[in-house]
């Protein structure tokens, strides 16, 4: 399978059943994308495929043939964080950090689709991402106030 990941061309022979998250974590060693469940509920594995947030545990690597995939490792420009990453830091939108990559990737997509998202919209849109640490209060703030 061949795809562009974080701007770099990648091409690896994989078993047909390989999930995108396995491709990223095991074949490419991009371990920032996390696996928090086995039922597509928690969203820790969220990445962008051609700009859209997708749970990488529920799509096969072969389905991403030719796609442009962005993971949490691909957001910052050198030392300059993406505005969503910056906002999570500023608003204390993370604690243990495990759900964080998925939250950031989902947050960017929420703001892409709802540039002036209300709190209600952000909370509704975050249904597919579970955090056990923050109580969401600061995650919601971080997504709403990211300077995108």
């Amino acid at each position: 399978v061949s795809m562009t990941v974080n701007g770099k061309a990648t091409s690896v022979a994989v078993e047909a059943r390989t999930l995108l998250v396995e491709y990223l974590r095991e074949n490419l060693r991009l371990t920032g994308t996390h696996v928090g469940c086995d039922t597509t509920q928690c969203g820790a594995c969220t990445v962008h495929i051609d700009g859209k947030a997708v749970k990488s545990c529920t799509i096969l690597a072969v389905q991403c043939e030719g796609a442009k995939v962005t993971t949490i490792e691909g957001l910052a420009q050198g030392d300059k964080l993406h505005p969503m990453q910056e906002s999570f830091k500023e608003h204390h939108g993370l604690q243990c950090g495990f759900c964080t990559p998925g939250m950031v990737m989902a947050g960017i997509d929420i703001r892409r689709r709802h540039p002036n998202a209300s709190e209600e919209t952000v909370r509704h849109e975050l249904e597919g991402n579970i955090c056990r640490c923050t109580g969401y209060h600061n995650i919601v703030k971080a997504i709403m106030h990211a300077k995108m």
């Binding site: 371990t31 490792e73 830091k89 204390h92 579970i130």
Partner: protein, 789 residues
């Protein structure tokens, strides 16, 4: 206040790593040649193992080895232990049934470990595990703790008659009975504290590695207390001596108690790494986490409160059955006893209290400490019964509480249930919360909601917790197998940077920032030149780890103690360098000044002089600037506060919406307000989860876990929760150097009672947690019993 010192909301140092995908969790670590472990788990809640045939599975592709309980026994490994020996009311030690790493002849809960497969890939190990042929003789299962002592109940362990681990009590029963005879009114409640599944977002994982050259082991594991892991694996499991075992808990994705404990999987993976001569990695799937992480709560309680005609509490008695699950987990026995019974005075000057706790085993996953551990259960009992008493007596619930608070001038206050509270100002927190919650305006809001066909309710929780666990002598006298101090090492490097080694462990708490702020404040260094190292027995002197909101109060105190030694040594160095008397040297925030002169030296200059000791007498002062300290707390700390929850229920759907949640907490002095607020938010979310959404359900006949995935167990999501309105009062802890108490558990302790007091206020009747829409709707429509099944 400096911009990065004590009291500043410093943005977290650890964040960039987590935000850029550079965190290193156990499953992110790969060792050369690593194999993968998969555990075969029992599909039965209770069964005898007639035979295990591994022959077919062993021949499957990629399989390196398969081990069963017999292999563990052949190597003379010990079983898992419970580290706290509770003495029952007859003076007898509690029952301690065996807990083998892999089952020998009996399985006792769905998910119990039967065998382990080690293979080249996780998929191969999973496929081979399914090919192991186990013949079970299924037996009837015991699920409900309230049934455990019945004559007809299945026995979980042959050496635990009636399934009773202990029948424990605390307090003066005779005084309580006498007071009840004089009571003007008695309020009674029956409560179920629902069983919870911790669900840290990172599933548990372990990567064991044996090095033949040094004959030593390294274990990477998801632990809140790696030194305790090493201690237990060395002393009790007997995998290797402490000198030959390094335990590393790298970035850990949340714990909430569930990663305190020593589980079978990490022990077996570590042991197996030597057997197969390869590193062995095990990572739990979420389904495994549901089945095998230690669960929390699970109490059945009857309580009675006696009041006089003025609403003063005369006596309080509590009878609880607590479920331990199938085996006693690492600290389980202490949770429904010393972390529960001792908290039952709450904030009140109740003269007589008695609590009786029957701890029982059942065919369910082990139950142990989960965020709050005993204290949420105690707070729920106290605050529900106080609220019910106010309703019985038609008194304002705030006023009834105020009337019974321990007054600020009564501290230190000896409660009737063992603890001596060091400080408190309970009315202060209540008053502040009443204003923030606009309690005065509630009646108007309730009437307005009623016009819209909605039911509004308001509820309080005035809680106390005992944190900073705990003085070693005290816990030792109560049966703890360990001391509960903390260690720290503070190293000034020659070029001025500071490295702090702490035995506390951060798995979301932000220690790398908070502890660095201590160095900024006390040593005058820049926050970016401070590095905090935690979670590695190879680098840190010792540690008891993080739980019970103890990291700052105990771990932080150890750091401060080590810093004090640094400052004292620096003073000697300055005295020599400046030819001054030590008494004439003043120290403040990183700079030494000679009184009455303009001469001064910075800590960085002192550090350089210490490491390049050309000008100090090294026969009197050792070179270097590196000090360690152990701190044993003098008492528990006693955070307190009042949380107020206001709910609106839609009677058409039974949906409860939290319209306002107010939390006023007193954690003593606060180092980083941003981090503290985050801790409170997360605790409240877990408390709201318990009250409205979460509950582990086992099938009462088969013992199958019905709520075994995120599809079935309702985790709080963003749109289930409100914003939280948080504030503080500050009553410094009088007995530790920072005046701090601990903030990690308050939300989970207070919120369930506050939410349920609001829900029951709106409904006008009791229902049990979780107050799901179905249960609320049924209560409104009185079509079903309000009691939980």
């Amino acid at each position: 206040m400096s911009a990065t010192g004590i009291g500043a909301s410093v943005r977290r140092k650890e964040d960039v790593r987590f935000l850029t995908g550079a965190g290193q969790y156990v499953d992110d670590i790969t060792r050369p040649g690593q194999a993968f472990a998969v555990f075969l788990r029992s599909p039965h809640a209770h069964a005898l193992i007639k035979s295990i045939s591994t022959a077919k599975a062993a021949k499957m592709p990629g399989v390196a080895a398969i081990f069963t309980g017999k292999d563990i026994a052949a190597d003379d490994l010990g079983g898992l232990i419970c580290g706290w020996m509770v003495t029952d009311k007859a003076g007898q030690p509690m029952k301690t049934p065996g807990h083998p790493l892999l089952a020998i002849d009996t399985v006792r809960y769905v998910g119990d470990h039967v065998a382990v497969v080690i293979a080249d890939t996780q998929e191969q190990a999973m496929v081979a595990a399914e090919a192991i042929d186990v013949v079970y003789d299924a037996k009837p299962a015991l699920v409900n703790p309230a049934d455990a002592m019945k004559a007809t109940a299945p026995q979980v362990h042959s050496d635990v008659p009636q399934n009773l681990i202990y029948d424990w009590e605390l307090g003066d029963r005779a005084a309580v009975d006498a007071a009840f005879k004089t009571a003007h009114h008695v309020t009674k409640v029956d409560l179920i504290n629902n069983r919870l599944i911790p669900n840290a977002m990172e599933p548990r994982a372990a990567l064991g590695e044996y090095d033949r050259g040094s004959d030593s082991f390294t274990l990477y594991t998801t632990s809140q207390n790696p030194h305790v892991h090493r201690l237990v694996m060395s002393a009790f499991i007997k995998i290797a001596p402490e000198t030959k075992l390094r335990v590393i808990a790298p970035d850990v994705g949340g714990g909430f108690g569930s990663k305190i404990f020593i589980y079978a999987e990490e022990c077996v993976s570590l042991w197996a790494s030597k057997k197969v001569g390869r590193p062995v990695k095990w990572t739990a799937g979420r389904g495994e986490a549901f089945l095998s992480d230690a669960h929390g709560r699970d109490h059945v309680t009857h309580a009675e409160l006696a009041l006089d005609k003025n609403g003063k509490f005369l006596a309080f008695k509590v009878d609880t059955i607590a479920n331990f699950g199938a085996y006693l987990s690492t600290f389980s026995s202490a949770v429904p006893s010393y972390l529960y019974g001792t908290l039952l005075a709450g904030q009140y000057a109740t003269p007589a209290i008695h609590v009786s706790v029957k701890g029982v085993v059942t065919h369910t996953a082990p139950v142990d400490a989960y965020r709050g551990a005993g204290r949420p259960e105690a707070t729920y009992v106290i605050e529900r019964i106080v609220e019910e008493a106010a309703r019985d007596l038609k008194m304002d619930p705030a006023e009834l509480r105020r009337r019974n608070f321990i007054a600020p001038d009564k501290f230190p206050y000896q409660t009737p249930v063992a603890l001596e509270y060091d400080s408190g100002n309970y009315a202060g927190a209540l008053d502040k919360a009443l204003v923030m919650a606009d309690y005065a305006g509630f009646a108007t809001r309730k009437a307005a909601a009623a016009k819209q066909g909605k039911m509004r309710g308001i509820g309080f929780a005035a809680y106390i917790e005992a944190c900073g666990i705990a003085p070693s002598k005290v816990v030792g006298s109560l049966g703890a197998g360990v001391g509960l101090y903390e260690s720290a090492e503070v190293r000034f490097n020659a070029t001025g940077g500071v490295t702090i080694f702490t035995g506390s462990h951060s798995h979301g708490q932000g220690h790398e920032t908070t502890f660095a702020q201590l160095a900024v404040e006390r040593l005058g260094v820049l926050i970016d030149s401070v590095e905090v190292i935690h979670g590695d027995t190879g680098r840190i002197p010792f540690g008891m780890g993080t739980y019970g909101s103890r990291s700052l109060a105990v771990g932080g105190s150890a750091i401060v103690k080590a810093m004090d030694k640094i400052v004292a040594k620096g003073r000697k160095i300055v005295a020599h360098m400046m030819e001054a008397s030590e008494d004439d040297i003043e120290y403040d925030g990183g700079t030494y000044r000679i009184k009455g002169t303009d001469k001064q030296m910075t800590m960085a200059e002192v550090a350089f002089a210490a490491y390049v000791p050309h000008k100090i007498p090294t026969d009197e002062i050792e070179p270097g600037l590196d000090e360690s300290a152990f701190y044993d707390p003098k008492n528990f700390t006693f955070p307190f506060g009042t949380h107020i929850c206001e709910v609106e229920i839609d009677p058409a759907t039974g949906v409860t919406r939290i319209v306002k949640f107010t939390a006023v907490d007193d954690f003593g002095e606060i180092i980083n307000p941003m981090i503290v607020a985050g801790q409170v938010h997360g605790g409240i979310a877990q408390g709201v989860g318990q009250a409205l959404l979460e509950g582990a359900i086992y099938d009462p006949v088969t013992g199958q876990l019905v709520t075994g995935s995120f599809m079935d167990y309702t985790m709080p999501r963003a749109d289930d929760l409100p914003n939280y309105d948080t504030a503080h009062t500050i009553t410094p802890c009088p007995h530790n150097p920072l005046g701090v108490k601990g903030c990690g558990e308050a939300g989970a302790i207070a919120a369930p009672a506050a939410v349920m007091n609001a829900v029951t206020d709106a409904l006008g009747r009791h229902i049990d947690m979780p107050a799901t829409p179905m249960r609320v709707w049924q209560a409104i429509n009185k079509s079903a019993p309000a009691r939980a099944a």
